[in-house]
Amino acid sequence: MVCLVLVASLGAQRSVQAGQEHLGQYAQADIQFGLRVYSTTCTTCHGATGDGVPGIDLRVGQFARAPSDQQLSRLIRTGIPGTAMPPGEYSEPELAGLVAYLRTMGTLDLGDVVVGDGERGQAIYNGQGDCARCHRVNGQGSRVAPDLSRVGANRTAGALESSLLDPTGSMFPINRPLRVVTQDGTVYTGRRLNEDTYTVQLMDQNDRLRSLEKSTLREYTLLTTSTMPEYGDILNAQEISDVVAYLLSLRGLED
């Protein structure tokens, strides 16, 4: 059985940490997503090549007003008072993407950048990826793995890509799957909802809430490996990008 557990990763933190100076320190997916955001919101003034505003060339990647990535992120959000640079409302993934793209656009071979297609990604999610077997989006799909209806609002592109390629390495503790075996041999796997000294509550593999007394269990294991497949073995780079683009479009009620 394929069970996809998509979780956020440390890639999210890596992509926004200060002091990153070289290409490669930013996740490819963040750069891709940043290019997409840049193309729709920044090109009017800055131009596709980053030199649209006289005296400003974004391709240098370093900015006196924003030496660190956090400062750059803040600057994009707040704008620069007294100049034509306006404030803007961006999600954390968008900011992470913009920072990654701005820091790397001068050294980037645009031929390397694979921009995902969300519609294709949705088709892969429901088809080849078989993601709905475990995940849920807007009321459709299983409850066994985390609900992804808002994943695009709180995960960066890099984090989503890492989760697809390395689910176990990217797994947050809160998504550790539980496996229990009762005295009569019944096996339940799923998400641990609560636990105390004497009992455990979980959402089982059939989307049912189970409350079990530990004294009735033969086995109790909190797994450290994700049950989600490593999608690098199943999808090619373009398809991964497409799925990431689809997931980034999931913004819950905002959409």
């Binding site: 503790p173 809160i174 550790r176 641990r192 909802l193 636990e195 105390d196 000294t197």
Partner: protein, 550 residues
């Protein structure tokens, strides 16, 4: 001790008819063990063993325990009170400073006294842990650092004394301790840069009788342990927020002292910082310091040493009786001290400890500070904390509520003292430290986020002769519950999960449990009325009282 053993041998359940109400004299407090049907002080007696000689409930019938009544508090704060029971009446506090007098058999209220603290700023919850009684007066220490005496029959205030200035961060959360004709309290405020003290007040007037500052002033012995010549001592904390113990023969009262301030930045207060993280032995009549022992010099970790001093008279192999003190310290070591001379007898880690590799011959820790970004064990809440331990003369074991395998990452920072503002000196969670393990927040959050550093709770039985763990009862969540042991070798405790359970005190086997549905953050007590033994414990916002089925 001898009297206690005799009572156990007789197996008698002492009963005082409910109507035989009398004043609680100093003599009665001294001989509290003679009337196990009552619970006259915070820990049940001056030796603070939280052990009852009642034995009606035992392993053979504990399954027949049933709920007799519940009292619902009108406060949503943690219910940390330890009730007093006097001749069929129960007196306890609800947070922050409400006193309730109740029929201890039926759970019906006689009167309620409500005091609203003004400008209080407690660090860690607007809580209160209970009352003291002498004569016809009850005594409550308030969150805004007043001491109030109430008439036990009517709840009318008799006198109120201003102990300290709440606006500068002083508070009181402890149950006072009555010694002879005085009421003794200590002040909290270790997170606000107060200068801690213990003070005694005349029980009939509220007039201050003596005061012992837990940080010596200029010219006093120990002041030199606040090195550097600055004013660190003036804001050095060393608060007192749990009730002390008393040895009438030695006329010494013992109190645990809290952390130095700022909590996590020892560089701002070089030196050993006496008497922070100490136990002090004071003359009960004068407050004069007779001896002290420091558990954690120049504390980096907020290892308050306010735990309840448990006094035992222990028969040595040569037949002499050793006057000892048992101490499960927040710093992760279990200590045995000589309570007469104040010497270190032994010390053993009871949980994972990495801030010190050992204790030297004098009990001073050989410290091994951890690199920046690495967890210190035990973490900031310690191996144990303010949860009452117990000692059973029957099993000869010391019991405590422990946080096992629990760590925290310290990040010291310079703190600027401002009166009435938190004075912590850093933080205890990682911010951008590469590779730092994930630690749960103070509220611990969802159970799936509890990684190895989150630790777990346990009731531990320690043999004071060896310091070795005799048995332990493990819990999934950490625990804030105190422990009660009985002459019939039962142990009552609970935890944050809302269970209240009875264990076999000899081996830790689970005998009975009840689901109370709220955190237990107080020590259970036991009492008897009309031939029936009761066990009382607060969980969540309810005070639950159990007894055997009629």
């Amino acid at each position: 001790m001898i009297q206690r053993i005799a009572l156990i041998t007789l197996g008698v359940l002492l009963v005082v008819p409910q109507l035989a109400q009398a004043q609680v004299t100093a003599e009665r407090l001294l001989n509290a063990a003679d009337e196990p049907e009552n619970w006259l002080t915070y820990s049940g007696g001056y030796d603070s063993q939280r052990h009852t000689l009642l034995d009606q409930i035992d392993a053979s019938n504990v399954d027949d325990l049933e709920l007799k009544f519940v009292h619902q508090a009108k406060s949503l704060q943690a219910f940390e009170t330890s009730p007093l029971v006097v001749d069929g009446m129960m007196f306890f506090t609800e947070a922050p400073n409400t006193v309730v007098a109740m029929d201890a058999k039926l759970g019906r209220v006689f009167w309620t006294y409500q005091y609203t603290p003004v400008d209080s700023r407690p660090c860690c919850g607007s809580v209160n842990r209970g009352l003291a009684i002498l004569g016809e007066h009850l005594f409550m220490a308030t969150l805004d650092a007043n001491l109030i005496a109430l008439d036990m029959w009517s709840g009318e205030p008799v006198w109120m004394t201003d102990v300290a200035d709440a606006a500068t961060g002083y508070a009181m959360t402890l149950a006072p301790l009555v010694l002879k004709d005085k009421v003794v309290v200590g002040v909290a405020g270790g997170e606000y840069g107060v200068r801690g003290f213990i003070a005694a007040y005349e029980a009939d007037t509220g007039e201050e009788a003596w005061r012992f500052y837990t940080i010596p002033g200029p010219g006093e012995p120990g002041h030199e342990t606040w090195e550097g010549g600055g004013d660190a001592w003036e804001h050095g904390g060393a608060p007192v927020w749990l009730t002390g113990s008393y040895d009438p023969e030695l006329n010494l009262t013992y109190w645990g002292i809290g952390n130095p301030g700022p909590d996590w930045n020892p560089e701002q207060r070089p030196g050993d910082n006496l008497y922070s993280d100490c136990v002090v032995a004071l003359d009960a009549d004068t407050g004069e310091l007779k001896w002290y022992f420091q558990f954690t010099p120049n504390d980096d970790y907020d290892f308050d040493s306010v735990q309840i001093p448990v006094l035992i008279d222990y028969p040595a192999e040569d037949g002499t009786i050793l006057k000892l003190m048992l101490w499960g310290n927040r710093n992760g070591f279990f200590y045995v001290l000589d309570r007469e001379a104040g010497g270190f007898v032994s010390g053993t880690p009871y949980v994972d400890v990495n801030w010190a590799e050992s204790l030297d011959d004098n009990g001073r820790p050989v410290e091994t500070p951890q690199p920046a970004g690495s967890p210190t064990y035990p973490g900031i809440f310690g191996g144990t904390n303010w949860y009452s331990p117990s000692y059973s003369p029957s099993t000869g074991l010391f019991y405590l509520s422990a946080w096992e395998s629990y760590g925290a990452i310290m990040e010291p920072a310079e703190a600027q003292y401002q009166a009435g503002r938190p004075f912590m000196g850093g933080r205890t969670r990682p911010t951008g430290v590469p590779g730092a393990p994930r630690l749960p927040g103070l509220g611990r959050g969802h159970v799936n986020n509890w990684t190895a550093e989150a630790g777990s709770g346990a009731v531990m039985a320690i043999d004071p002769r060896t310091g070795e763990e005799k048995w332990k009862f493990e819990m999934t969540d950490v625990t804030t519950s105190g422990i009660l042991t009985t002459a019939s070798d039962l142990l009552f405790s609970g935890g944050r999960e809302g269970y209240f359970h009875a264990l076999d005190a000899t081996n830790g086997e689970l005998l009975w449990k009840a689901t109370l549905g709220g955190m237990i953050a107080n020590g259970p007590i036991s009492y008897a009325i009309d031939g029936q033994q009761y066990v009382a414990v607060a969980a969540g916002n309810g005070l639950f009282v159990f007894g055997l089925r009629d």
